[in-house]
Subunit: 257 residues, 2 copies
């Protein structure tokens, strides 16, 4: 029987999501709990990997096993075994033929930036301080240029092994709010897939445009010239949160997100 899980994690103390020998990873920790529950070594597949330090509110996983625990109760059984920085937020029997990796149609990431006179102790864990404060309208105007199908080759860290660098972004939105009196910008990007470091490079370039250090046309140039060097630095992992993975299916009766 195949089960599907929605999990959330604080990435601070993990060496990324993907299992690695000798490192504390989200997959390693979840597979450790699964082995205890099912009594045998159990592989847990992820919708995709997240880097060291990246957080998730809506990562989706699947696993195969046999247990008398009702599928929607697996959540509680996992949470009794998992450490507090990773939690199963929903569990269910997977639909027929479900594969959390190959079936993912859309993913939404959030990148959080704030301005403050110093690295703020209450914000720094899930956001990155930027200085000077970027202009919201300049970032929004530039963000609109990235919506649609483009070759994102310039928005990819070296060492990325994806076959094609063409991706479609369905929505790229930036909101501004005030958190503990400090301005916070949330960049929210929904696409059919993402290259290695793509959101963190996009966040860095939009911030540079908002700060007046780069021009809007750098984005359209990057789509044509396809060189990483045209764009600003990759932003730190701790500002990035995998918010949602969409399969065009209602996976959980009570949607946890």
């Amino acid at each position: 029987m195949r089960y599907v899980l929605q999990i959330g994690y604080d990435g601070t103390a993990f060496s990324g999501s993907q299992r690695q020998p000798g490192a504390r990873t989200v997959q390693g920790v979840v597979e450790g709990a699964a082995a205890d529950i099912f009594g045998v070594t159990t592989a847990v597949a992820f919708s995709g990997r997240t880097d060291a330090g990246v957080h998730a509110a809506g990562q989706i996983c699947h696993l195969d096993g046999q247990t008398s625990v009702p599928p929607h109760k697996l959540r509680e059984v996992f949470n009794r075994l998992l450490p507090p920085d990773v939690r199963v937020l929903a569990s269910a029997a997977a639909p027929a033929g479900f594969d959390c990796t190959r079936g993912a149609k859309k993913k939404t990431y959030c990148y959080r930036m704030y301005a403050a006179p110093a690295a703020h102790p209450l914000l720094e864990r899930y956001a990155v301080r930027v200085t000077p404060p970027p202009d919201l309208n300049a970032m929004r105007s530039a963000a609109r240029l990235t919506v649609g199908e483009h070759d994102f080759a310039a928005f990819r860290a070296s060492g990325s092994s994806a076959k094609t660098s063409v991706r479609t972004l369905y929505a790229v939105d930036i909101s501004q709010k005030s958190v503990w009196g400090m301005p916070m910008w949330e960049l929210r990007v929904t696409g059919n897939g993402f290259l290695y470091n793509m959101v963190r490079i996009l966040a860095g370039e939009l911030c540079a445009i908002g700060q007046g250090r780069a021009e809007e046309r750098s984005l359209t140039e990057a789509f044509i010239v396809k060189e990483r060097a045209l764009l600003d630095k990759t932003m730190p992992a701790r500002g990035l949160i995998l918010e949602r993975v969409d399969y065009g299916l209602l996976l959980f009766e009570e949607e946890a997100q």
Copy 2:
């Protein structure tokens, strides 16, 4: 010369704000940095103490010393010496006769509660999970009964040594928002002073009313009968943030909050 500091801290790893032998406290850490800067043992006064695990975005401190560093630059000098979980957000020369403890006219605290299927790894550090979800309107209606001058003797932990338990609340507001898809309630209380655990007891009782476990009149009864046992449990420290202390003065040229 007297200096005034606005500081923020993540209370998770502190045994409260107040200096204690053999414990890691906010005052101990800030006084350690002050001793390095001024070259002598330097007492740092706080507007008031916060308990173990309570956070602050706008705690106000003062200290006396002599240095050639311009007052508004003291912030940076402190931040080079302080650990990442405490930061000076603003520094200035104190106005004549300023005392951060005796001069505090109003304080604002925020208490954060959320609902989720499990303790959420991205929310649990600065908020407390409550189940079932409380009703916003029931909490708001009850909150209005607490505004004004009342005897808060029932809203005080045993062992509190304040001379009088009469306090005035100027505003008690509750907002609801969605964070990572989970409902989050922020109780914001502004008053002329607070008894030991007063906000945490008030948050617990408002939550109980919102959940239908207590009735609105429990609050007015508690003002009259003055017994702690009439009210629900004290909520955990990690949901409480000292947001602002007001002196009726503009302390910092660039207000950091």
